[in-house]
Symmetry: C2
Subunit: 292 residues, 2 copies
């Protein structure tokens, strides 16, 4: 998998040659999926105004595969005449040694932190590969998948069954970001998240749907800027009353008034990613959750 990250214009550093440069190759070498390493590397590289292309090499879980990867890196060094950057998370000492001898700049995300921790804890690490993500046969993993199924079954107020086993119930107007947030909470944290749309009937009645009354402490609200909401709804149903700015203003006003009246905590999703929304919700409702 290759992707170019562009952070700005061409590099202006003294190290950059005069001719136009290709994006600098960055390898992410992992004995597992490499997803965590890749996301982390991406965030580090985003600090440089330079172009990179990230090449993920997952499942490097044998000495043979480590050799293959080292050869691939050396090949690229020969072709492009620049040292590739390697973010490595290999746990196996022999595989690691092979990679260390290749023609790249090694940033060892595993050993760098394992060594000081071994010293501090007075304990040797297990050097067991494939422990980054959960085992798919573990209870914790099954709980995550169950949470995803729960969130799907309780999307958009579809079902009132088992609402008592929900960890959180998101409320907000249609298209305020509830569904992607519930799915993210389920997938990343195994949080059972239901969601309930606030609709014009609720505003006329000036009350939350009665099924939600008993779950007040689990409810969290999402609001959104009416302009942005109108944009989003217009992509779905162009020119409809549903998408009109006037209607969006009305719904958002009513929804915020209701949340204030009912004492529901809420945030605006307008400029927030699902990661930011999910993190804020977990903080606010003080949910304790495992990490994956």
């Amino acid at each position: 998998m290759t992707d170019a990250i562009t952070n700005g214009n061409s590099p202006t550093s003294p190290a950059a040659p005069a001719k136009p440069v290709a994006a600098r190759p960055v390898f992410i070498v992992s004995d597992g999926t490499g997803i965590t390493a890749e996301t982390f590397a991406h965030s580090i590289l985003a600090q440089f105004e330079m172009r990179f292309r990230q090449i993920r090499v997952p499942f490097v879980d044998s000495v043979d595969k480590a050799y293959e990867t080292a050869q691939r890196i050396n090949e690229m060094y020969r072709t492009e005449n620049i040292r590739p950057i390697i973010f490595s998370t290999l746990v196996d000492a022999r595989a690691n040694e092979i990679l260390r001898n290749c023609q790249g700049v090694i940033l060892d995300m595993f050993q760098t932190f394992i060594e000081p921790l071994e010293l501090e804890l007075g304990l040797k690490s297990m050097h067991a590969i494939g422990r980054v993500h959960q085992n798919a046969d573990s209870e914790a993993y099954k709980n995550r998948i169950e949470a995803v199924n729960f969130s799907l079954a309780h999307d958009d107020g579809q079902s009132n069954k088992n609402l008592q086993s929900a960890d959180v119930i998101l409320v907000g107007v249609s298209r305020s970001g509830k569904t992607p947030t519930t799915l993210y909470l389920a997938m990343q944290y195994g949080v059972k998240a239901a969601n309930y749309p606030l609709i014009p009937e609720d505003f006329e009645r000036e009350k939350l749907p009665s099924t939600l009354d008993q779950y007040k402490e689990k409810i969290f609200g999402l609001s959104i800027d009416p302009l942005r909401l109108s944009e989003i709804r217009n992509e779905r149903r162009p020119g409809s009353k549903y998408a009109s700015l006037e209607n969006c203003r009305y719904e958002v006003n009513e929804a915020e008034a209701m949340m204030r009246r009912e004492g529901i905590r809420w945030l605006s999703s307008t400029h927030k990613s699902i990661e930011e929304i999910a993190t804020t919700i977990l903080q606010e409702i003080k949910l304790e959750r495992d990490v994956y």
Copy 2:
């Protein structure tokens, strides 16, 4: 957010006191959500046969919040009389300095890799905070949300509309893991993933649904061990024919025979997490995708 990670029995290291120890506190301090740092820290800590409790402190994006966090760490050091371990990803130099002076063991995930990269690239980093995840207003972020909506709309063969814009179409028997995988592909990679259940009618006809014929190169199959499938289905519909081991064996056999006949690539989801399944699919269909 606190969670205990148990990797085994109580520690046996010489550093461990004789009396029963509480789980060692680990802080994840980030100027963003801290999700990447948390997942990464979790994978490092999983290498030790010891109990930890991870405390995530997100959104530490000011000098004041850095002070607050340092105080919280010092307080815990005084109470528990053991140095907390700190995984830090603070980008701001002043905030970082404040944290460095606290009574914890600092593992600086940011500076550790930024410095060698600055040297290698001959370029100063921007030290811009909050660049880990995408901006929620960016095109790439909107594509991800669009992909989530696409995957939901094309779940379980619900819609044949716009199948031409799908990046991948997963096929497999009911409960083989298609839905969570499509949602993960969408959420993590912005991949538009549809899914299509293979049902007894397809097996009798001995052909893929005709709507899929033209999209052969995008199709990827999931299979599953019949025993595991029967377990999963029994949780949904206990004692049904649908869940019976006999029926599960029949469906899985027929589905695998069909995939072989049609030349569809497939994998068994039985012992794989959605991260592993998604990674393998991206490799196999050589999809190039951004990382989040």
